[in-house]
């Protein structure tokens, strides 16, 4: 009965702070801070004995001791207990290393967000004062250590969640400076700051920067890339640059762990790719949807910091609101808790972070949920302790219970992930912080209560939980009473018969027995004592949880995604009308054999062999449609229109494979799309040709080996004619200025190319030099004849060719000049009147240009119209009497030629890629539907399969709706049904964002 009961009163936060400042510092006696009063040096030597000690995940010592002194671990195991140690009996208790959070903003003040935005006054340079860099979102000079302040409230919440150490940084900007490693002790900053520069931190989010550049994700990526180069260059201390403290700080922090905050699974890959280019392996702070692309995550070879921010079930009670929640959002709700398990299964190194949780009290529950969804307990612990420490190179200090490491550990009532386990204490740097003291001593059991005078005996049973036991009197009828234990003080009351008066006692829960005084039911004073007679045999009432039933993964993560990615197969299309686009023209009753993704043979009555046979009788087979001007499948912004020259930005960096428009356009026979930067500035960004391989990741979507292109633009958009009154500062504001922007850019590029060793590598200039050397090709947004003529002159002056004029609605006026120059044209069939520069646009444009001898394509610039480009092509039959075969070429072989891939695709010819569409009718008729669309011999859209997918979507939605309804019924907090986002862009869209047809009808060019 020794140590019978020793709960400790919880100290207020203020008391803790005072004790930290005045007494409890376990550092050496000498320090710079003077003492006001009497010095109180303590070594804080404690021995925790008889404990189950988990040194690290899987490394468990039973009945072992942990000795600490001066805030560090002295021994773990069976080492001698020093004489001056305060001995704490931890019989029945567990000791774990305190958790390490590798991703925190603890103690750093959030950066102030100033108002601004693209409709505000333009800001071309950083507003940060001092000898820093040009861009406000590159903040390498920020050291979290310099701004770090202990935050008692936040520290307590983190400690209560099990954490002892965090790597903290100011979460603002693209380069966020260095992170600081701090413990969560309530002590002076000098003591808790254990590594001043522990990491360098990055993201793609410009944060509080009010500077215009970058406004898009691709701009952020380009800026990051350029800063790598600038920092390398700065190492040579270029006189021209002077002092640049930002670049200096960037270079100084290169050896630290580099942590990248990715806000999406694709961002994780994007960050990793930039890192690879510069020999940096980022540690990736994940967003929570990486489980949707595990093979790609493996390929990064990165370590990950996984958040546990699982979405709440969506309130789908109102079916008409639930309609606007996409299946992908519902599925994410269901599958998000599988993230850590998926990482474990794939052997990807990872740790867990509490970052992003609204309430830290949810943290352990979220870990448990991950375990319920397949994460092993051992891995979970490891991810919270040693792995976390290792990932941020802090395992010399924390992460496991080893001599020499910080005395950061948790004392718990049992196995840490057991739902009933209580976290009693979190010791940080050798100081105790009580999380919960009730139940430290389990008082439950049977007691004999003796009252004097009279020597009356009662048998009392204490059960319930260790923290809040309940009392009952055991006699013929068991009667419920009450008990309150507050530190050493105890209060007991119970009736002697049902509904009878209460016997009321109070006293002290002493070390060996409980005793005190009270009033009996007659109101007479009595003395009492209670002796323990038998332990409570606990019944584990927790039901073992069955593994959750989960839906299948879709690739991409969309209702129309594949459960398993499709494979190439040999296909024989029999007896179709084949539009070859070659000199053979249109072949009736012809077979086409597809093998290994290529067109293997064209002829009559071809043998099928092992090929799948598709009957083409009465149907038309054409080459796949190529959309020369598209903005689908792009993440977070199509324009980096913040400067007039942004040739450094690349659509290739922001390809979004999840865009449902890929699938929708396959249903309209599109097999390749040229993804262009927008038209907000004169020299826009680099474009990317993709094939519509629905389900593939961004790299696999890219049309391998195709020539690089870039978007230019002229006219109203680049001179900001329709941007409102405030946008009157950026050069150029006239077509006169546009010429000068171009001339200036290419003049600089030519000089740059000639510059010798030691030049600053400039990605903007590199792209222009590629143009000058015919290694990169221009697609130029243009409308009126004067500007077309102008660009031809600029190109001639600098000896390069303008490959393609896009939109080019007045191309018909200067078709002869374009022909002479060698430019091609990609235009709309019949758009006009939406702005001043299209007043002379005519639907005969394509025909005239084609008849003058230009290579002409019809393109979309619109996710909806792209689904029926065959119809847009057919308008040239109506307007200008083009032949049907020539009209089809406008959307197939002609754009293939414009894009330099005519050797690979665009016609039906042996050896070419099997990018084919089978139509139920003449493809130039409005009555034609694409029945099957294949890319590289894989059928990515099949109208019959599409019907099955619709049913699957409906069934899966229904399953998840029912599941979420039952969650709501159980009382699980829900989130409001929000309309799922779909990113969609046109040329002129300035901001990364969402266009929803039903709310903003007007999204004209």
């Amino acid at each position: 009965m020794s140590n019978f009961f020793s709960p400790r009163k919880r100290l207020s936060h203020l008391c803790l702070l005072l004790s930290g400042l005045l007494a409890g510092s376990y550092a050496s006696a000498q320090e710079t801070f003077p003492v006001n009063g009497i010095a109180d040096p303590r070594e804080g030597c404690y021995a925790f004995v008889k404990a189950t000690i988990v040194k690290s995940a899987g490394n468990v010592l039973n009945n072992a001791s942990l000795v600490i002194r001066n805030g560090r671990i002295v021994s773990v195991g069976n080492g001698p207990v020093p004489k001056d140690a305060v001995v704490i009996d931890c019989g029945g208790k567990y000791i774990y290393p305190s958790f390490v959070d590798a991703y925190s903003d603890y103690g750093t003040q959030p950066a102030k967000k100033a108002s601004g935005g693209y409709r505000g006054d333009p800001q071309f340079l950083s507003a940060t004062k001092g000898a820093f860099g040009w861009n406000q979102s590159i903040k390498s000079e920020i050291n979290a250590a310099s701004i770090f302040q202990v935050d008692g409230t936040a520290a307590e919440s983190l400690r209560n969640a099990g954490f002892g150490t965090v790597l903290s940084h100011q979460q603002d900007g693209i380069a966020r400076g260095t992170g600081v490693l701090v413990t969560l002790a309530d002590d002076r900053e000098n003591k808790v700051l254990i590594r001043e520069k522990a990491s360098a931190q990055f993201s793609f989010d410009k944060g509080s920067s009010t500077q215009n550049y970058p406004s898009s994700l691709m701009g952020s990526i380009a800026l990051l890339r350029q800063t790598f180069l600038d920092a390398q260059w700065y190492q040579s201390h270029p006189a021209k640059e002077g002092t640049n403290l930002t670049l200096q700080a960037w270079n100084d922090s290169r050896a630290l762990p580099q942590v990248f905050d990715a806000q999406d699974k694709w961002d994780a890959l994007r960050a990793d790719k930039v890192g690879d280019e510069f020999g940096v392996q980022y540690i990736i702070k994940a967003s929570g949807n990486e489980y949707q692309r595990i093979p790609e995550m493996v390929a990064t070879k990165a370590s990950f910091i996984l958040p546990l921010t699982f979405p709440q079930p969506i309130d789908v009670e109102d079916p008409n609101d639930a309609r606007f929640v996409a299946l992908s959002d519902m599925k994410h709700w269901e599958l998000a808790p599988t993230e850590a398990a998926a990482f474990e299964k794939a052997n990807i190194p990872f740790c867990l972070t509490a970052s992003g949780l609204k309430d830290l009290k949810q943290f352990l529950g979220a870990v448990r949920k991950s375990i319920e969804y397949g994460l092993s307990e051992q891995k979970a612990l490891d991810a919270l302790t040693l792995s976390a420490a290792r990932i941020i190179k802090a395992d010399d200090l924390v992460g496991s219970l080893e001599p020499g490491k910080l005395a950061n550990f948790l004392v718990t009532s049992g196995a840490i992930f057991n739902e009933n386990t209580v976290l009693f204490q979190n010791w940080v740097q050798g100081k105790k912080y009580i999380i919960k003291d009730e139940g430290w001593k389990d008082v439950r059991g049977t007691y004999t209560l003796t009252l004097t005078p009279g020597n009356t005996r009662y048998t009392l049973l204490l059960k319930g939980t260790a923290a809040t036991p309940t009392l009952s009197l055991l006699q013929q009828d068991t009667l419920a009473g009450s008990i309150t234990i507050n530190d050493k003080l105890i209060k007991i009351a119970f009736p002697l018969k049902k509904g009878g008066a209460q016997l009321r006692l109070s006293g002290v829960a002493g070390t060996n027995e409980w005793s005190g005084t009270g009033l009996d039911t007659a109101g007479k004073w009595v003395k009492w004592n209670a002796a323990f007679s038998a332990a409570y045999t606990r019944q584990d009432t927790a039901k073992p949880k069955s593994a959750p039933q989960l839906g299948n993964m879709y690739y991409p993560f969309n209702g129309y995604g594949w459960e398993a990615l499709p494979k190439q197969q040999d296909i024989l299309i029999k007896n179709a009308t084949v539009w070859t686009n070659e000199k053979e023209g249109k072949l009736e009753n012809t077979d086409v054999l597809v093998r290994n993704g290529k067109i293997a043979q064209i002829g009559k009555n071809l043998p099928a062999g092992n090929a799948r046979v598709i009957d083409g009788t009465g149907k038309h087979l054409t080459p796949g449609i190529i959309d020369e001007h598209s903005h689908i499948a792009i993440s977070k912004g199509v324009n980096e229109g913040t400067q007039s020259v942004t040739s450094e930005v690349r659509i290739a960096d922001v390809v979004n494979p999840d865009d449902v428009n890929i699938y929708r356009q396959l249903s309209g026979g599109v097999t390749a799309s040229h993804l262009l930067h927008g038209s907000a500035n004169t020299i826009g960004g680099q474009s990317q040709l993709i094939k519509l391989r629905w389900g593939a990741d961004a790299e696999e979507l890219k049309f391998a080996g195709s020539d690089p292109f870039i978007k230019f633009a002229l006219g109203e958009n680049v001179k900001q004619s329709n941007w409102g009154e405030r946008q009157r500062e950026r050069f150029p504001q006239t077509r006169m200025g546009v010429e000068q922007v171009l001339t200036d850019a290419f003049t600089r590029a030519r000089d740059y190319e000639k510059e010798g060793a030691g030049k600053r590598r400039d990605l903007e200039m590199d792209a222009l030099v590629e143009i000058l050397n015919s290694k990169r090709f221009i697609t130029c947004h243009s409308y009126v004849q004067s500007e077309i003529n102008m660009l031809l002159h600029v190109a001639d002056t600098f000896h390069f060719k303008v490959n393609t004029f896009t939109h080019i609605l007045e191309g018909y006026k200067v078709a002869d000049k374009m022909k002479q120059h060698g430019a091609g044209a990609g235009t709309f069939a019949d758009w006009w009147a939406y702005k001043m520069e299209v007043q002379d646009a005519i639907p005969y444009n394509a025909t005239i240009m084609q008849r003058v001898g230009l290579n002409v394509a019809i393109n979309s610039d619109d996710a909806e119209m792209a689904r029926r480009l065959n119809q847009e092509a057919a308008k040239s039959i109506k307007y200008g009497d083009m032949t049907e075969e020539e009209a089809l070429k406008l959307v197939t072989i002609n754009p293939a030629k414009l894009l330099h891939v005519a050797e690979r695709t665009g016609s039906i010819k042996t050896g070419k890629d099997a990018d084919l569409v089978l139509w139920n009718d003449n493809p130039l008729s409005i009555y034609a539907k694409a029945e099957k669309t294949m890319v590289d011999g894989i059928v990515y859209f099949d109208r019959e399969k599409d019907l099955e997918l619709r049913q699957r979507i409906s069934a899966e939605r229904n399953r998840l709706v029912l599941k979420m309804l039952s969650e709501k019924k159980k009382g699980t907090p829900t989130q409001r049904a929000a309309a799922s986002r779909e990113e969609m862009y046109h040329c002129e869209d300035l901001q990364a964002g969402h266009q929803q047809r039903l709310t903003d009808g007007n999204n004209e060019l």
């Binding site: 449902v660 006026k813 702005k835 009555y927």
Partner: protein, 430 residues
């Protein structure tokens, strides 16, 4: 000096303007016309092969296979198998109210204020818009010129597209009042940015209540003839309550449309749903309540990413199947020339070709309240006729060769054709 130079340049450029200004509105029909040897699409589902159609004084006199031989003073046109259609009617358009979308000074479709029923689009309709000629030449002969902005931006009028001024153009003045219902679409959630704080439903209720109380007060006001102060807004909706005017409620989502249906019942007025993207979901309800739909363009993306990829294409067929009276629309102004192709797509996805035609002719006329005088090629109706070499609904074959409005043979010339000729000339093309 500078000023006079500018004046000079302006004058010069004016005189150099294209021959647009010589495209004249046609004079009244002087002589009866007899079209023969044509495939005649009546507009009501009926097709007459090798048929004839005669019209005089702007009205259709006869249509069929065995018409009496025309007398000598009749102009006979042998169409040699061409197709004859009712003139296409474009509902819900800003044609004539805007010329260059991005240039504010050319925009006359949106007034200040939330409830402006007395505002009339007709008086701003610019018959000299260059856009109008490009619609006529694709067979679009009538348009419902419709204001936008706020909740009740005013009344729309149907115009015929060959006129000297808006008075000449007026075909049915102020036939509809428009109500743009606020959206009930749950706002999209952007993680970490704006979470939904205000319930969209509250805002919706607040705004629709404004319109509801406006109508209630108007109805009460109109019970009494004498008023100390005349309320123009109330006066402007008087015909709604006598059903001489319809209320077009612009909305797309199921709950919005159900509210629209309720408006019809509550105020005893004739309601038409304009938009109706999700109308396929409640087609039966709309049918039961006799609510007509002016369907938003089929050439749209599905409302939601999980929707059938061809949902907007097939909505028309679903309404047809449920027996809902509907017609098709197209957004904007210059875009109206593609309205027949919207019908073509609706046909690809389920409507018969004649049903698709009705969706841009007779059904539109019914919904706009002009079916007694136009919308089909039936005896007694206005001779609003489009003639095409092939299928009008398919761009592969649609070439409009002639058109008549009220029996007047209208010019099919337009700025685009003229520029085409100009540059064929430049390049020596035939």
């Amino acid at each position: 000096m500078k000023r006079s130079l500018l004046t000079y340049i302006t004058a010069l450029s004016c005189s150099a303007v294209m021959a647009q200004e010589t495209i004249y509105p046609a004079p009244p029909q002087a002589k009866p016309v007899y079209l023969t040897n044509a495939t005649i699409h009546i507009g009501n589902g009926q097709v007459i092969e090798k048929g004839s159609l005669s019209f005089a004084n702007g009205k259709i006199v006869a249509v069929g296979n065995n018409l009496p031989a025309p007398s000598a003073d009749v102009k006979v046109i042998d169409l040699q198998g061409k197709h004859v259609y009712p003139g296409v009617i474009a509902p819900l358009t800003t044609v004539g109210l805007t010329e260059v979308e991005a240039v504010r000074s050319t925009n006359d479709f949106s007034e200040v204020g939330e409830i402006n029923p007395s505002v009339r689009s007709l008086v701003a309709y610019n018959t000299d818009s260059k856009v109008i000629n490009t619609l006529r030449s694709n067979g679009i002969l009538l348009a419902q010129v419709t204001p936008e902005g706020g909740m009740i931006p005013g009344s729309s009028s149907v115009v015929q597209l060959d006129a000297w001024n808006w008075e000449d153009a007026a075909y049915k003045a102020d036939g509809a009042i428009h109500f743009y219902m606020p959206s009930l679409l749950p706002p999209p959630a952007t993680p970490g940015r704006f979470s939904i704080t205000k319930d969209r439903a509250e805002e919706f209720a607040e705004k629709t209540e404004k319109v509801r109380s406006f109508l209630s007060e108007a109805k009460a006001y109109l019970q009494e003839d004498k008023h100390t102060a005349v309320n123009l807004k109330f006066e402007a909706v008087s015909k709604l309550f006598t059903k001489q005017q319809k209320l077009f409620i612009h909305c797309n989502l199921v709950k919005e449309m159900l509210v629209a249906v309720d408006f019809a019942k509550e105020f005893g007025i004739e309601v038409v749903i304009a938009g109706g993207a999700d109308s396929w979901m409640i087609a039966d309800v709309l049918k039961q309540n006799n609510i007509a739909v002016v369907l938003a363009q089929p050439h749209s993306l599905p409302v939601m990413q999980d929707d059938d990829v061809d949902q907007p294409y097939k909505t028309a067929a679903q309404l047809q199947q449920a027996g809902v009276l509907f017609c098709l629309s197209n957004e904007g102004f210059w875009q109206q020339r593609n309205l027949p192709f919207e019908a073509g797509t609706a046909s690809t996805y389920g409507l018969s070709k004649e049903e698709a035609l009705a969706a841009v002719t007779l059904n539109a006329a019914k919904i706009l309240g002009i079916d007694k005088i136009t919308g089909s090629l039936e005896t007694g109706k206005d001779a609003n006729i489009t003639i095409s070499t092939g299928d009008l609904l398919d761009m592969r074959s649609s070439v409009v060769t002639q058109a008549f409005i009220q029996g007047r043979e209208v010019s099919l010339d337009n700025k685009h054709k003229q520029l085409y000729e100009r540059y064929k000339y430049k390049y020596g093309l035939k």
